[in-house]
Subunit: 311 residues, 4 copies
Amino acid sequence: MPLVSHIKIRNRMSVLNLAQEMEAAKVLGAGRFGKAARILGEMFRDKNCMKFISLAGPLIPGGLRSVVTDLLDGGYVNGIVTTGANVTHDLLEALGHRHIVGSENADDVNLKRRGLSRIYDLYVTQSSIEQLEKVTYRMLNRIPESKRRNIGSHELLWEFGKQLRDKNSFVRTAYVRGATIFCPGIFDSMLGLHLWTYSRVHPFVLNPLRDFSRLVDMTYEKRRVGVIILGGGMPKHQVLIANTYRGGVDAAIQITLDRADGGGFSGAPLEEAISWGKVKTPKNLVTVVGDASVLFPVLAVAALERSKSKR
Amino acid sequence: MPLVSHIKIRNRMSVLNLAQEMEAAKVLGAGRFGKAARILGEMFRDKNCMKFISLAGPLIPGGLRSVVTDLLDGGYVNGIVTTGANVTHDLLEALGHRHIVGSENADDVNLKRRGLSRIYDLYVTQSSIEQLEKVTYRMLNRIPESKRRNIGSHELLWEFGKQLRDKNSFVRTAYVRGATIFCPGIFDSMLGLHLWTYSRVHPFVLNPLRDFSRLVDMTYEKRRVGVIILGGGMPKHQVLIANTYRGGVDAAIQITLDRADGGGFSGAPLEEAISWGKVKTPKNLVTVVGDASVLFPVLAVAALERSKSKR
Amino acid sequence: MPLVSHIKIRNRMSVLNLAQEMEAAKVLGAGRFGKAARILGEMFRDKNCMKFISLAGPLIPGGLRSVVTDLLDGGYVNGIVTTGANVTHDLLEALGHRHIVGSENADDVNLKRRGLSRIYDLYVTQSSIEQLEKVTYRMLNRIPESKRRNIGSHELLWEFGKQLRDKNSFVRTAYVRGATIFCPGIFDSMLGLHLWTYSRVHPFVLNPLRDFSRLVDMTYEKRRVGVIILGGGMPKHQVLIANTYRGGVDAAIQITLDRADGGGFSGAPLEEAISWGKVKTPKNLVTVVGDASVLFPVLAVAALERSKSKR
Amino acid sequence: MPLVSHIKIRNRMSVLNLAQEMEAAKVLGAGRFGKAARILGEMFRDKNCMKFISLAGPLIPGGLRSVVTDLLDGGYVNGIVTTGANVTHDLLEALGHRHIVGSENADDVNLKRRGLSRIYDLYVTQSSIEQLEKVTYRMLNRIPESKRRNIGSHELLWEFGKQLRDKNSFVRTAYVRGATIFCPGIFDSMLGLHLWTYSRVHPFVLNPLRDFSRLVDMTYEKRRVGVIILGGGMPKHQVLIANTYRGGVDAAIQITLDRADGGGFSGAPLEEAISWGKVKTPKNLVTVVGDASVLFPVLAVAALERSKSKR
């Protein structure tokens, strides 16, 4: 039977070395985190692996926008499945707006009066969301009407990406680097309200089945599929269910604070997905219980270093 | 300053009396639960209130199907926003299949071999999901093609409800009672896979913006709007964001095991939604931290009793 | 394979009937809750079962004081293992003080200035805690010095119970009914500070090993041992570890919001305790994930009704 | 109003640089983690700060034994308040036993049959715990009887530390380096069972009030007090309540998966402790929601680097 090793910390040790110490510990959260760093490092290095990241929760407004953009830019991620909110907030920053440091104990009645909307401990101005409407309309108008009459979110976001100038935008970077962003719930967001009002006066039909076709196609394009799941929700489920046709993903890591006992899919262990054919085998799977905003940057640094250094 | 009262339990006390004792306690989870029972009872009694329930997590396969159906049947709920999974599992039971009691520690590789797919501690047979395909196709074929070329999930589910015979089906009961079911992520489910394969050979375009138009319309149809939120995810967000045009919902209760600190909307307190205009005021709002499969039946019994007994 | 049954709610149904519907559902949280109601009902009816309750978290100040007192008074519980805080707050109420309904978002600097101390959303006055000192000293002075020189918490609380007059006090009621309260961390509380200052000027030695001797003795006094675990912490561990000598407890239910994945004992499943000899078999064990302040009153009403009605 | 900055990751960036990027993000979990790294770095550098760490959960058997020992050895920690379990498992390893990598889904009946006891996903042999008895008795016999008749856990652990030879033992290292270990629930552990059986035949009285006296004295010995709280339970409460006499601690960070809403102290925010006088001001306080086994090693590396590099 393998034995627990104790993590040795050293001054100025690299993030990768620390992750390897955790991998050697093998148990508890640290052991899982170390395993996740190994799997992710192997995924990053694997040229024959189609890499997806699912992104729920306010990671884009909340500090991880550059991390995501840099992974796209470096070719470490080929597809992203995310929420309408994350796309909305990327566009807001692309238009020059910024997110404001706030407090999770703020008085929301007062915030509303001041024109601020809250996401946990960060704020966004209502005026920036109003300004997004005009820009959204302008970007939509530039899309050929024939395309607009039956469009998937990934096509819409390519069209948007094409029109954006901000190099830090993950929507733009995906377009530039040929990566694909799926936003199956794009209509369920502040951006979605603008899409909806537009659709009331202009020809515009969002068709999520077009996204699914593209997503399924991508699962066949390389020998292996690897998935990084940050948070749960529909992004997690879409990326996994699209892989059932090819017999499931080959590797997956998930970071979440959700738990299995409520029965919901967000907190379900990756192993459960094996019984649905969404995941191939129990090898190369790991769930790390924790907050992705803290753990994913650490994991990404360790995995990048590993993908470069190791033979 | 108000004082904490201690809950008195009595032999054979009614569920309502127990909830009222908790309301009098005023603090901790019990105080919140008691407040939720009061708000829900008032909502149930209010003829001028449009009542929505958002439903995430496997409540339909997991034992709450009749609770939901009975609330629809009694006219206590006018609209439901739920996941594709809950619709899928309602249809499976409507076709005569049953869900199987399993274990959350099962070996998923073995389950797959046996043709079983797992949701936490319950199973469903893969063969039942395969059989659903044929029935789905048949039901889709009966929908006029012009309608099928641009259809919202709520219209699709009316068409399905019309064709079902099972009185315990919430999809059928909604149709019969004139209630509306929205399933903004219907494509993201086992049923969704069947819809997608159908769309590859038949004219079929799912348009979530049609759902949103109907949902927004419903928020204007009565003087007040009340929302019951079970679990988070897109169902929670859709129902709340649709109410921004009318200035927010008037009352809302939520039961969830998700927490605010990850920043995601699923665990966000209802107060946060005030800053977005999704909720009107801090009055008549309450979050109960807990498992909806346990707490909602208790709450529903208390609220029904209250809605009938009180003047 | 057993099948999931759907919970049927009926107007004015009893708490027991509702719990039995949940038991029949068999899965998810509801199934576990229903099972817990059955196990607790059997425990309450069993004359040959030594019944312990472990109590962590602010249940005594937060509304469950009468529930606990009534269970002691009815002979449904023979031993309680709890925190110093719960004893402190029982004594405060016994002295005529009340707990105040507050807010979990209060400004704590301001509260302190106003002489209020906070437990989540309830407050207690600092002056009441100061007044407790004099009373504690008086009660201690009445204990024979020979006893005071080496005393366990259960003996100390008997001495206190003897001197209290409040019929709603669980400390008094335990004394009156011959039940035993163990408080292995009694020194780690506001009452504990008074005990400590007393010990600096008077002979007074608290010996937790005396508690353990009595606790172990109690595990042998009846044919079976049943344990109700509300919250985790030392109360949970003490009551279970004391049962290792007799080969483990026969039945146990636990209600907690803690989870297993952090590795701590508070969130550990009861099954884990089998490997330590603290629990006998996997039969008659159940963990309900949830807030004890809501779930325990419901469970207690169901179990009491069951213990009386069923043959 | 300050703005959210986005975390920039770079290849081979140091742990400290990554933590500083998170600090600059300011929001969500990452912002809190970054703030914790700053506070801890300042604490480590501050010669006039008495530093305590409270340690609940199986961190010692689960991979963090060397981290704790190294912090003691480097003089970064002056006092530890921990559970009986962590002391037990330190002694087991000091005697040459190792912890075994297991599975959280193991069959506990089977494990027991094989002589293994489980802590989440790690095992320990029952035979090692039995062997601990003899060693414990021998170590106790070497303590002068007069001392043994009224001894605090910190004194007992000094006596044990004096007799141990394992340089990786935190109990030994504390003794060697003049640090103090408090174990207010030492009796509530496998080691505690051996202490109890010893006390049945030898003069031995554990007095937790002696610990409290020493703990309070330590809070006065330096100009400032800083506390690192890993997990909750009695260790968290003891270290904070002991600081009430001096007006509260000056700085504190806590890492925990427990939440506030159940009302228990383990999940309570540090701000709540201000209202009790256990914490001085809201400055230099931060709660990071997460698993200490993952986050603390990262935090410690960042803080050590910071304490050395920064002026």
